[in-house]
């Protein structure tokens, strides 16, 4: 039982990281109607920024995260402006997708060039040891708890921002009807930029948590969590923010428990099989909206 609880809590923690990454996917998809496959690599860049400022410059972990979030925000805005915006509207959605894959490889190879392929051992941004329950039988690591709390704060803050501020409302308006929003005076380009900025800023936070839990940083660190977070976003219903959160948590828990009870090697296969099954039963994902065909 305690064993189950340990894996369950670890699953929630891993799922929280997936959820934060999935928020970036789902927001960008909801507003720009594109899949930003380079999102996972923004996490990796963010982690390298944190590594550099913590280990090389010896800065405070919290300050390092702030620097990384700022760096990723700029990176997100720049990639959108340079790579995706020129393709918006005119080209087919396939062109943007391929470009995103290109950006992903570009970022990976840039990191390879700058930081080399040698894994960097990341020191955790969380120095707290965690808590012991049930007389030391059940240990929960500090980083696990911090991850869960952080993701809850991020979700609540994001929901409040979208519901309560005019920039957030502009995002909803653009995601519903870009044309009508523009005709009501909403600057669509600025709104899309802001979405990329927020998604990429969150990626930096996800990077910090991810590398604190799995302290092995390479240029490919972001790829697999990126794909899994994408699966989480689709599972929850792409475009839906609560959906991303639920999808992420489910995925993390399933992965963690299947590692324990079924097989470590098979856990990824199980995760992706679940995606296929969910899509067969509910093509729009758990919380996704049904798309109504216009007659």
């Amino acid at each position: 039982m305690l064993n189950f609880l340990t894996y369950f809590v670890n699953g929630i923690s891993l799922g929280s990281i997936y959820a934060i990454i999935a928020l970036g996917y789902t927001m960008v998809y909801g507003i720009a109607k594109m899949l930003n496959f380079a999102h996972g690599d923004v996490i990796m860049i963010g982690s390298y920024i944190i590594y550099t400022s913590m280990v090389t410059w010896g800065l405070d972990p919290l300050l390092s995260i702030v620097i990384a979030a700022a760096g990723c925000t700029v990176l997100g805005i720049v990639t959108e402006k340079v790579a995706y915006k020129p393709l918006r509207g005119a080209a087919s959605s396939l062109a943007v997708l391929i470009t995103a894959i290109g950006v992903s490889y570009l970022l990976q190879n840039l990191a390879l060039l700058i930081f080399t392929a040698n894994p960097k051992s990341f020191s955790s941004v969380v120095s707290w040891d965690g808590i012991s329950l049930a007389g030391g039988e059940l240990k929960i690591q500090g980083v696990t708890i911090i991850t869960i709390i952080t993701s809850l704060i991020v979700l609540l803050a994001l929901q409040t921002f979208i519901k309560k501020t005019k920039q957030g409302q502009a995002m909803v308006a653009v995601s519903e009807d870009k044309g009508a929003a523009a005709l009501m005076g909403i600057n669509v380009n600025k709104t899309i930029s802001l979405t990329f900025a927020i998604g990429s800023g969150l990626a930096a936070i996800a990077g910090a948590l991810l590398c604190s839990a799995y302290p092995n940083l390479t240029p490919y660190t972001g790829a697999m969590p990126g794909i899994k977070a994408f699966v989480a976003a689709v599972l929850g219903g792409i475009g839906s923010i609560p959906g991303a959160m639920i999808g992420g948590l489910l995925l993390g828990i399933i992965e963690s428990l299947s590692k324990r009870y079924i097989s470590t090697q098979l856990s990824d296969a199980i995760v992706f099989s679940i995606l296929i099954i969910v899509l067969l039963v509910r093509p729009t994902g758990l919380l996704g909206k049904k798309v109504q065909e216009k007659v």
Binding site: K164, T165, K166, Q169, V172, A182, L183, M184, L194
Partner: protein
């Protein structure tokens, strides 16, 4: 004193089809002007040209003395043209109040950061936006529904909300695309009162597309008739509606 809207020789083609051909119009401040014509005549295309959704191949558009030809939709909205849509395009998952607030975005601004950090300017401006939006909702008798989703409003109220949202952007010229489409005679009668009220209360110039001849002859002072992309007839409503060419185009 120049006209509120003057359009000279506006044309656009899609592929081989000349959707709008040498379109001219002149609307004085405060006028209620109707644009009519058979289906597919190019009326909505004219609206899309006026609001910058399409760029014209030829011709020029002046709003008062400002040349707005080729500006993008956001700039044209800022310059003072707002519109509604033939098939209602409200933000369905936003509340009635928030739909109107979207229209206020250009008038009320605060930096993103003050929204994130909840600085005092955020609270002040949001409160002002709420008040202004509520005033508009009151005018259209929608304040009771302010918190319901736009998609849950009955059809007639959705039409009204679209007009309220367009007015929120602070236009000089309001374009209404088939405002009476799908309405029963009672609702149409009420809509006619609303449109007159908007013109008088907001000192608005209005250009509307409509098929309902009762509405057109009831409230429009002047008309232009469009057929196959070009202007068939224009002038005072009573004269245009008795023009044999217009009758021929309508009745075939």
């Amino acid at each position: 004193m120049c006209a509120m809207l003057s359009v000279n020789n506006l044309s656009i083609s899609f592929g081989g089809l000349r959707a709008v051909d040498d379109f001219n119009i002149e609307i004085e401040k405060g006028e209620l002007y109707g644009l009519i014509g058979p289906n597919g005549a190019g009326k909505t295309t004219v609206f899309n040209l006026l609001t910058g959704v399409y760029r014209p191949d030829e011709g020029r558009i002046f709003l008062e003395d400002r040349n707005i030809t080729g500006l993008d939709t956001v700039e044209i909205n800022k310059a003072g043209i707002a519109r509604t849509f033939q098939n209602i395009r409200l933000f369905k998952d936003l509340s009635v109040l928030d739909n109107v607030k979207i229209g206020l975005h250009n008038i009320f601004t605060y930096p993103t950061i003050s929204g994130i950090l909840r600085l005092s300017s955020y609270f002040r401006i949001e409160k002002e936006m709420d008040e202004r939006a509520l005033e508009l909702l009151k005018v259209f008798d929608l304040e009771k529904e302010k918190d319901s989703f736009a998609k849950n409003l009955p059809y007639g109220k959705q039409r009204k909300l679209e007009i309220a949202r367009a007015l929120a952007t602070g236009p000089k010229l309001l374009l209404l695309d088939e405002p009476a489409a799908g309405m029963n005679p009672n609702e149409t009668g009420e809509l006619m009162d609303t449109i007159r009220f908007v013109r008088d209360e907001f000192d608005m110039t209005i250009l509307l597309i409509e098929h309902d001849m009762k509405l057109v002859s009831g409230i429009c002072e002047k008309l232009s008739v469009l057929n196959f992309g070009s202007v068939l007839s224009r002038g005072k409503t009573s004269e245009v509606l008795n023009d044999p060419e217009v009758i021929a185009a309508y009745l075939g």
